[in-house]
């Protein structure tokens, strides 16, 4: 066995992937952090109290892990799901009753709920330790945008099963957009946007822009599907990268000055 390990570790393929020996001594534990793509977001060394679980609660990391879980299970679900009135509900039924990968839907849904909770807890911890204070002000702002995007991800995904629960939750949730000041057709001040005829109607207002139609329908399903699977995840990925990068640039993990 030891011989086999030696053959593998000495092979050109292994060495081309991992350019240094196993991280078992101090030197290689430092080198691994600098040469591994997935590890290089971390610093090489860190304050011991800064990573104590009773201090950080690990909630930021947990949230990121849940985002990855949602991405992987979401991609698998996309193989089985068609966002049309004809197929959406039936595909979910099939995921529940037929496909052996159907458990992915459960993991995806509970993971989404859990992600909303862990984002809140992460934010709660950051507030309670005053970690948004200078020099980390702007990273807090990015975090708030990520919070909003997490809620929107969850909200757009809620519609996709196309059952009673989904459609009416989105109907109730998006009805508010009707009342957007000036831009909603039942909002205060929309009468003032006029070109001789009213500019803001149920066919042109903020809710219409959100739903792609006057009511939650096939256009909405398509719109929410794109938002859920492509648009928002792209934005989240970009902001996550900045969020993590700035943790390092703004002085590392927080702690007393």
């Amino acid at each position: 066995m030891a011989r086999l390990g030696e053959i593998i570790y000495e092979s050109q393929i292994w060495k081309s992937i991992f350019r240094h020996p196993m991280p078992v001594d101090r030197r290689n534990r430092i080198v691994v952090m600098l040469t591994n793509f997935f590890l290089h977001l971390h610093p090489v060394s860190i304050k011991k109290q800064g990573i104590a679980l009773s201090y950080t609660w690990c909630m930021g990391g947990v949230t990121f892990f849940l985002f990855l879980v949602e991405t992987v299970t979401g991609v698998l679900l996309m193989f089985y799901y068609r966002p049309t009135l004809e197929w959406a509900y039936n595909d979910i039924l099939a995921l529940r009753d037929i496909y052996s990968l159907g458990i992915m839907r459960e993991i995806h849904r509970w993971g989404a709920h859990a992600m909303v909770i862990t984002v809140w807890l992460h934010m709660y911890r950051v507030f309670l330790t005053g970690s948004y204070k200078p020099p980390r002000e702007f990273n807090w702002v990015i975090g708030v945008i990520l919070l909003l995007l997490t809620l929107l991800l969850s909200f757009t995904g809620y519609l996709l099963p196309w059952d009673q629960l989904a459609v009416w939750a989105i109907t109730v949730g998006s009805n508010m957009a009707r009342a957007t000041p000036i831009l909603g057709h039942e909002g205060p001040g929309h009468q003032f946007l006029t070109l001789g005829y009213p500019m803001i109607t149920s066919g042109t207002d903020a809710r219409f822009a959100l739903l792609g139609a006057r009511n939650v329908g096939e256009e909405t399903l398509n719109r929410f599907y794109i938002l859920h699977c492509i648009a928002i995840p792209l934005a989240v990925s970009l902001l996550l990268a900045i969020h993590f990068w700035r943790v390092r640039k703004d002085g590392g993990i927080s702690g007393p000055l």
Binding site: W140, V141, V144, P181, P256
Partner: protein
């Protein structure tokens, strides 16, 4: 209990309860073992028994509690509702009869205030552990109630129940550390976080922690997914409106605000202000203390404001909207059947009606028929003048007033713009509880009611 027999119901309750009680027993057993291992297991009292000294220690107490939980589990596993441990019917009737939106909101506020004021007592591990056990026991004993079970065990509501317990735990953890730090700083010592300046290598210390977290979380998710099927109702139908129609649970605080505000406020303006206000926090909090460690005393204002906004106005409203609002958005007690025919007689009155009709005994000012657009607007403004003056006074008069009185120190430290942002955010935040109290006390519907322009406030 719709569509399932009492036996099936008892079976589903039992399948939740017996593993639940066993888990609680294990939790208390582990805690007792931990206390026993620690040298701080000081006995509550000792009995001079012949032969050996009987010492009633915390470890013994929590061992007994663990045994009681095992006993409860054995009662639950039989799946007979009669023998299942549950809260007495009289208590349930009392809770149902006395629970209203007012009692709930004032009660949660009072609880938070008491927890805050006596935090140094509540964070003591023995006290906190007792409360934690009572919360969990309350949930277990309530589960055999069919109405309670049907709401709490609804798959999409499970996250909220989890959220309540997680928040209880993490609020305790943060407060425990803050109380400890505050005590230390009183004695002139640095906060706990500052004691250990040692640096460690990320590999292995952090990387392994992350990996263990990932594995544990994966296990939790997989068990959750196996145990609880994702909800799937009937196919969507635009003609069958469910009653109640609810948004996803994280937006139910906003939906609950619809009781007190029109959609343009509850659904658009206030949520936007929440986001803007959160973003503004680092720029309006000029307090340099409390950066990177838990403390309450060094940043009391920030702490209280945030907890009021998050725990009271956000989380308890979500719990209210999710668990206690039934058909027609009526309030239902936790053990109450969701009866779609429940009628709540409530006539709400606008500020203008109070002013013109009740106090001046006149009819509302109304524009003469066929009058011009501007005349109509003039009459509307006259009609709503009392409310407009009140609201404008609130938003325009109060910030400068507070700047020279209660918030004087803040105004001097912050400068004009930052102070105005803070003051207005605070006023908007306070507008919700104020409107709630006005609704409960004088049935006030709107301060400003201009349905002609969809502007109700």
């Amino acid at each position: 209990m719709h569509g399932i027999s009492p036996q099936q119901f008892a079976g589903s309750v039992a399948s939740f309860l017996w593993p639940y009680y066993l888990a609680l027993a294990a939790m208390n057993g582990i805690f007792a073992y931990y206390l026993w291992q620690k040298s701080e297991n000081r006995p509550f009292f000792s009995l001079p028994t012949p032969g050996f000294a009987f010492r009633f220690t915390p470890a013994l107490l929590w061992t007994i509690v663990a045994i009681v939980y095992v006993f409860l589990a054995s009662l639950a596993i039989g799946a007979h509702l009669e023998s299942m441990p549950q809260v007495p019917q009289g208590f349930r009737d009392f809770v149902n009869a006395s629970s209203k939106a007012t009692i709930y909101s004032l009660g949660t506020t009072a609880v938070l205030v008491v927890l805050y004021l006596f935090r140094s007592w509540f964070v003591r591990p023995m006290v906190a552990w007792s409360i934690w056990n009572l919360m969990l026991l309350f949930l277990g004993l309530s589960m055999p109630d069919p109405n309670f079970f049907s709401i709490v065990a609804k798959p999409d509501n499970v996250p909220i129940v989890a959220l309540v317990f997680l928040l209880a735990f993490f609020t305790w953890l943060a407060a425990y550390r803050a109380v400890e730090n505050d005590r230390r700083m009183d004695e002139g010592l640095p906060p706990v976080e500052k004691l250990d300046d040692e640096k460690v290598l990320v590999w292995p210390d952090l990387v392994y922690t992350e990996m263990i977290c990932m594995i544990a979380l994966s296990a939790v998710l997989i068990f959750w997914a196996i145990w609880l099927q994702a909800p799937l109702e009937e196919p969507a139908s635009s003609v069958k409106t469910p009653n109640p129609s609810k948004a996803p649970w994280y937006f139910l605080g906003l939906q609950e605000m619809l009781v007190y505000y029109d959609p343009w406020m509850a659904g658009v303006v206030l949520p936007s202000l929440i986001i803007v206000g959160l973003m503004a926090i680092p720029y309006i909090d000029f307090n340099k203390q409390g950066n990177g460690y838990y403390t309450i005393r060094e940043r009391r204002f920030a702490y209280i404001t945030f907890q009021l906004g998050f725990l009271e106005l956000w989380v308890t409203l979500i719990v209210l909207g999710t668990l206690l609002r039934g058909p027609n958005w009526n309030f239902f007690g936790p053990y109450e059947y969701w009866d779609a025919h429940k009628v709540e007689a409530l006539t709400n009155v606008n500020m203008s009606e109070y002013f013109w009709q009740y106090w001046l005994h006149r009819s509302l000012p109304t524009a003469p028929p066929n009058s011009t657009w501007s005349t109509q607007l003039g009459y509307i403004l006259l009609r709503e003048a009392p409310g407009i003056i009140l609201v404008l006074g609130y938003f325009i008069m109060l910030p400068p007033l507070m700047a020279v009185t209660v918030l004087r120190r803040y105004y001097q430290r912050m400068g004009f713009i930052r102070y105005m942002v803070l003051a207005n955010l605070l006023l908007f935040m306070a507008a919700l509880p104020i409107k709630m109290v006005l609704r409960w006390t004088i049935n006030l519907k709107y301060l400003i009611a201009i349905p002609e322009y969809f502007l109700n406030f």
